[in-house]
Amino acid sequence: MANDTNSENKDGIKMKDDQAAALVVAQAFIVFSAIYWFTQIESVRELLQLAYG
C-alpha cells in the first residue's frame, strides 16, 4: 500500500517535471520563432523598400 502511494507520488513529481520542462522549451521556441520570422520579414521589407522606394 505504502509502496503504491510512493510510486504514485514519484509519477506525479515526474509528470510535473516533464510538464515544466515542456512549458519552458515550448515558450522559448514560440517566442524565438516569432522574433526570428518577424526580423526576417522586416529585413526583406526594408531591403525591398531601399530598392524600390
Binding site: 520542462a21 515542456a22 512549458l23 522549451v25 515558450q27 514560440i30 526570428y36
Partner: protein, 194 residues
Amino acid sequence: MIAAMFTSYPRTLTVVAALLVLLTLAYGGAMDAVYPSLLGVFEWLETTWFGVIGKTWGAAFAFVEAVHLLGLALLGGSVLAGDGRLLGVVLTDVPMQTVVVRTHRVFVFGLSICLATGVFMACGVATKIYYLPVYWFKMLALSAGMLFHFQVRQPLLSHDIQSLNPVVVKMVAVASILVWFMVAATGRWIGFSG
C-alpha cells in the same frame, strides 16, 4: 533548496541548461571560436566517398535530394498529424495517445531518411555550406528539434495525455510544428544561398 530542485525537476533544469548552451552557440560568440577549426572537417568531408560521388555525379546528388524531400514529407506528415491531433484539428475522433504513439514511428522513419540523405548531401557541398549562415542555423534548429522531440515532447506525452495541462500540450504541439517548419524552411533556403 537547490538539491531539492535538482531531485524534483531534473528535466526542467537540464532543458534550461540546454537552451542556454544553444543560445550561447548561436549568439554568444562560442561558435566564432570553434568555427575556423571546423573548416578542415568540412574539407575532409568533400574527400570522402559521399563527397566524391556527390560532387562528381550530379544525378546521384539530385536523386538523393529528392529522397531527402520524401523523408521530409514523411516527417512533416507525422508531425502535422500528431501535433494537429494534440491541437484538436485532425483525427479528433481517434484517441490522442494512439495518434501520438503511431505517428512517432513514422516520424523516426522520416527523420532517419532525412539524416542519412542529409549527411550525403552535406558531404557533396561541404565547403559551400560551411560558409552559409543559414546552414548553421538549420543545424541549430535541427539539433533543437531533435532534442525537443525525444527529450521533451515524447517524455511528456508518455504520461496519460488527458491528465496533462491542455495548455501545455497545445503549446508543445505549436512549438513542435514551428521548429520543424524552421528546419524545413532554412533547409530549403540553403539551396538559394551561396
